[in-house]
């Protein structure tokens, strides 16, 4: 019997595979495609205290081995998520989920975390201080160790479950930001959010994305993500959740090898909605090939 279960502190996940925020909605569309209970957990669409309609179109562009998005945290607001979405998710998913929380100032983050972390369906809050597509909050906080620490500490006081801080790769020293979040009370770190990028139409000479800059994701960013997860795993003692261009079971093993305890799958969910289920089904045979019956033994081999 092969063990796929991993532990995020005192929370045991049946496997390390977690659909990443922004690529899985609130799980409801996917619940019509496969049984969500095969997943270790899933991370919700970035949720803010106030409802947001997001940025103008176009928000999406193709890149070499990846994509750009500038959605801008479109979501129905924390109250609607708690009262309408959580009960609907409960009917199709019996484990706990990760709720991704965004904000535009400290107060808006605190109000959303206070409301959402109180629900028993929530195993962890993923604090989004790394969204590149909003004017205030988001990446502005995650690229400054002092601001990141301040917000983490403030939110930690009201958070009734684990607090995972999601980091931006758009920094010079990611380990310093990770240590700042850990020192401020974070229970875990997830990374990387999207890399700030841009696409231009050579015919018009204009940006393709209405918002000009956008978040780059997909297979193209995997080498950057592996390097940053490696750096952070060496810098902190709390669990690290790795992501960035994960498309296969082998990718999951690579991220665990650089120190990740669990792994998020992002953009690939959009082009292959069954990818997480496929990865989970394939993990045992990859572990067999490696000659181990416990996925935890692959963690940190590259550290």
């Amino acid at each position: 019997m092969i063990n796929l279960s991993v532990k995020l502190n005192d929370w045991t996940l049946k496997n390390p595979v977690i659909p990443a925020s922004g690529t899985f909605g609130y799980g409801l569309e996917f619940s019509m495609l496969y049984d969500l209970n095969v997943l270790g957990a899933f991370s919700t669409k970035g949720t803010t205290w106030e409802p947001r309609v997001g940025n103008p179109l176009p928000r999406i562009a193709e890149t070499a081995s990846g994509m750009l998005n500038a959605v801008g945290l479109q979501n129905p607001g924390a109250q609607a998520v708690k009262s309408l979405y959580f009960p609907a998710i409960r009917r199709v998913f019996s484990d706990k989920l990760i709720v991704n929380v965004g904000g535009h100032d400290e107060e808006s983050y605190i109000k959303a975390v206070e409301l959402l972390s109180d629900d028993p369906i929530v195993g962890a809050v993923e604090l989004n201080i790394s969204c590149p597509n909003v004017k205030a909050g988001g990446m502005a906080i995650g690229t400054d160790a002092g601001l990141a620490a301040g917000l983490t500490a403030a939110v930690k006081k009201v958070c009734r479950c684990q607090l995972i801080v999601k980091l931006s790769p758009n920094v010079t020293d990611i380990a310093a930001i990770a240590r700042a979040a850990e020192d401020a009370g974070a229970d875990g770190i997830s990374l990387i959010n999207t890399l700030l990028g841009m696409a231009v139409d050579y015919r018009t000479g204009r940006p393709i994305i209405a918002n000009t800059y956008a978040g780059h994701s997909g297979g193209a960013i995997k080498p950057v993500a592996l390097r940053m997860v490696h750096q952070v795993a060496k810098a902190v003692k709390i669990p690290v959740i790795g992501m960035g261009g994960v498309e296969t079971a082998e990718d999951v093993i690579e991220f665990m090898s650089v120190g990740a305890t669990a792994v998020m799958v992002g953009s690939k969910n959009l082009t292959d909605p069954f990818v997480c289920k496929k990865i989970i089904e394939r993990l045992p045979s990859v572990l067999q090939e490696l000659g181990t019956d416990d996925i935890n033994t692959v963690r940190g081999r590259a550290l």
Binding site: T23, V53, T271, P273
Partner: protein, 245 residues
Amino acid sequence: MLKTADFVIAKNRALNQNVYEMVLTGAADFSVAAGQFVNLSLPGKFLRRPFGVCDYTADSITLLYKVAGGGTADMAAMAAGTVLNVMLPLGNGFTLGAIPAGTGDVLLAAGGTGAAPIYCLTKTLIERGFRPRVALGFNGRDDAFYLAEFRALAADVEVYSVSGELGEKGFPTRALEKEPGYYFACGPQGMLDAFAGTGLPGQLSYESRMGCGFGVCMGCTMVTRKGARRICADGPVFLAEDILL
């Protein structure tokens, strides 16, 4: 039920210099309706590409596409026999039940490759006993296509061209000069805005760059009178009365 399945290109032919028709055959256990779309996975491209269904049989779908970038240029070069992964059916089709009972004059208007879903709708409405008026708009003679196919449906077909070298000069909005009882429109944003601006009852089909096509990425949202709606999952067809101009 949304699924992904491998289809084989049975036919891929140029209709003019830029517009192509592709027929894909595959497993027969799928359903599509007029106004719905499919999302094609192309070799070497990360994102799928959405296309409105032009026609379908029990085991095939026909798409029309205009070469607009690298993905569609690749498609134009694909040979019969090539396998493509298709996600389908996507979006909500046209709501035929919304046509008020006794409406005599139903107008179906298409601009450019908006003709694809309008062809499917024309066929469906005729099968159901309607006698729709079809208005097709093109830039000029060189980029027209599917005129014979529409006329073969025995529909009342009006043709408009911006250059005036084919049919009547102007946009298909000119078909509104004879006010319809109800309309369906698919085409460029300006054309859809013009139709919605008339205040007449009807339905409009939108297009957008999409991340997923099935409602999870929020990459194709438009704000309507009912709030933010996803073109892929809440549309691509919207009631004219819900459109914010």
